[in-house]
């Protein structure tokens, strides 16, 4: 089914093949898109638990006495919000024009040690950018290629994953609050994810990954591929870098304004001046959720037609297995009202503008036109 070009492989690659996964290229990595039914994997996460290989993501440790000051310069969100060890923050890393170089998670581990998790497809440019700016702060940048990362997600995920740990570590893992991680033995266990469900993301030595995955399968946790990961994150209202924002779009037109910390005014992060200009003039566009009211499937790059205002474009679109209809994110003019049309192969189909997320914790958050919960 595929050519000879071999991408990078995670420590779980052979196991994915053994489990019958269909392998695709994702940002230069050979990754499982699905093992069986993509919709089945999606439902497994909404209803029970699933495990994803996210080892292709890039873990970067930043150390040094001035690491906090460095991150306050590098990131649009403010790491000063992180006051408890292990606490995580979602942020954009911007260029001088306010364009998004990447979105990432930063963990506060100690005053001299923070950990970033950045996207696989942007690894090289991210590392180059981070290193270029770290020098002035004498911060050491270390890629943790020795770690594998598993995301275990779903209403039963934490309870299942805790069974991989000894009693004391399991208790500590289950006590973690949302968006907090903790080193437990050689594993870093965090209550984070990209699905809209509860769960853990666990960074572990690469040699532990295969046995952990097999143990999770034995506990009834379904192997899930990047296909289900994409429909889950879309339902959960979470952006995908490269689709929903990139270096040519700024956070305010990407539904990421909530991640920009303009206060305190004295914090001079990269991209701040550009963003202040946009705040003064007003962002021309916004990223919204769309719910297709007609039959069909919304896809990225389809044209959105807005009465009297012009056009927009779908940035991510798919079929929502939970809602059993199509949903999307679209970048549209700021004044766009509640009704739009989407051009699908020359036909104009009706879509409703909604505020993501579409689904959270297994429940639809979408109301029908009368305002009752579906």
């Amino acid at each position: 089914m595929r050519g000879d070009a071999v991408g990078r492989q995670t420590p779980l690659f052979k196991l994915h093949q053994e489990l019958g996964a269909r392998i695709v290229d994702f940002g230069g990595w050979d990754m499982p898109v699905q093992y069986g039914s993509q919709i089945g994997e999606h439902h497994a996460v909404r209803r029970a638990a699933g495990v994803f290989d996210v080892s292709h993501m890039c873990v970067v440790d930043l150390t040094g006495a001035r690491v906090r000051a460095f991150l306050q310069h590098l990131l649009a969100n403010d790491v000063a919000k992180l006051k408890v060890a292990g606490k995580a923050l979602y942020s954009c890393m911007l260029n001088e024009r306010g364009g998004v170089i990447d979105d990432l998670i930063v963990y506060y581990l100690s005053e001299s040690w923070y950990r970033l998790v950045v996207n696989a497809g942007t690894r090289d440019k991210d590392l180059a950018w981070i290193r270029a700016h770290a020098a002035a702060f004498a911060v050491e940048v270390s890629e943790r290629a020795d770690l594998a990362m598993l995301a275990i997600q779903g209403p039963e995920a934490r309870e299942k994953a805790a069974q991989l740990l000894n009693a004391a570590d399991a208790a500590a893992a289950l006590a973690l609050e949302s968006f907090v991680g903790r080193q437990l033995g050689s594993w870093f266990v965090a209550r984070t994810g990209y699905t809209g469900e509860d769960g853990f993301e666990i960074m572990m030595p690469a040699q532990d990954a295969v046995s952990a995955w097999r143990s999770l399968n034995a506990l009834g946790v379904a192997s899930c591929g990047l296909g289900a990961r994409d429909t889950l994150r879309l339902e959960a209202g979470m952006n995908l870098y490269g689709n929903d924002m990139d270096e040519n779009t700024q956070p305010f037109e990407s539904a990421l304004g909530w991640t920009v910390a303009l206060a305190p005014a004295a914090r001079g992060f990269i991209g701040r001046e550009a963003l202040e200009g946009i705040v003064r003039s007003g962002s021309p566009a916004k990223l919204v959720g769309l719910l297709l009211e007609d039959r069909g499937v919304l896809r990225s790059h389809q044209k959105v037609l807005i009465p009297r205002l012009g056009e927009g474009e779908i940035t991510s679109g798919s079929f929502s297995p939970t809602l059993e209809r199509s949903i999307a994110f679209a970048r549209v003019p700021c004044a766009t009202g509640p009704k739009v049309q989407v051009d699908i192969r020359g036909k104009l189909l009706n879509a409703r503008v909604v505020k993501p997320p579409f689904v959270r914790r297994g429940k639809s958050l979408v109301t029908d036109s009368e305002g009752t919960q579906r």
Binding site: M1, Q34, S37, Q38, I39, G296, V297, R299, F319, S326
Partner: protein, 132 residues
């Protein structure tokens, strides 16, 4: 290994053609195609009366991942599209050679003979060459 029934003809683009006793043909996508696409969530079939030329994009099958065109294996006029697929697109996954048919066509004069259709043996060779 994909199923390739002996009583059908095939195209390189993974459609199948069934000759019916009344001179019309039934058209669908192969087991290999449905498997490669994954869970189908939307199927668009042509309206009755539409005249197709061979090789024309005449239907769309969409999985969660992507939309794919279906090409007319031969020239003809659409008698009926399978309207059940609008509500139950997954039928193409579960029964691609049966209830998952896409359309019935009255071939243009000589079109069935002129069409570049493959025998089951030749179609299997295509699948082998694709590693499927």
């Amino acid at each position: 290994m994909s199923s390739v029934p002996e009583d059908l003809k095939y195209t390189k683009s993974h459609e199948w053609v069934r000759a019916r006793p009344d001179g019309t043909v039934e058209i669908g996508i192969t087991d290999h195609a449905q498997h490669a696409l994954g869970d189908l969530v939307y199927v668009e079939v042509p309206d009755a009366g539409r005249v197709l030329v061979a090789g024309e994009a005449c239907a769309v099958v969409e999985s969660v991942k992507a939309a794919s065109d279906v090409y007319a294996p031969l020239a003809g006029q659409v008698i009926v599209g399978n309207s059940k697929l609008a509500a139950e697109p997954e039928t193409v996954n579960t029964d691609s050679y049966g209830e998952g048919w896409l359309m019935r066509l009255r071939p243009a004069p000589g079109a069935l003979e002129a069409a570049a259709l493959m025998s089951p043996a030749d179609y299997r060779k295509v699948l082998d060459a694709e590693g499927g």
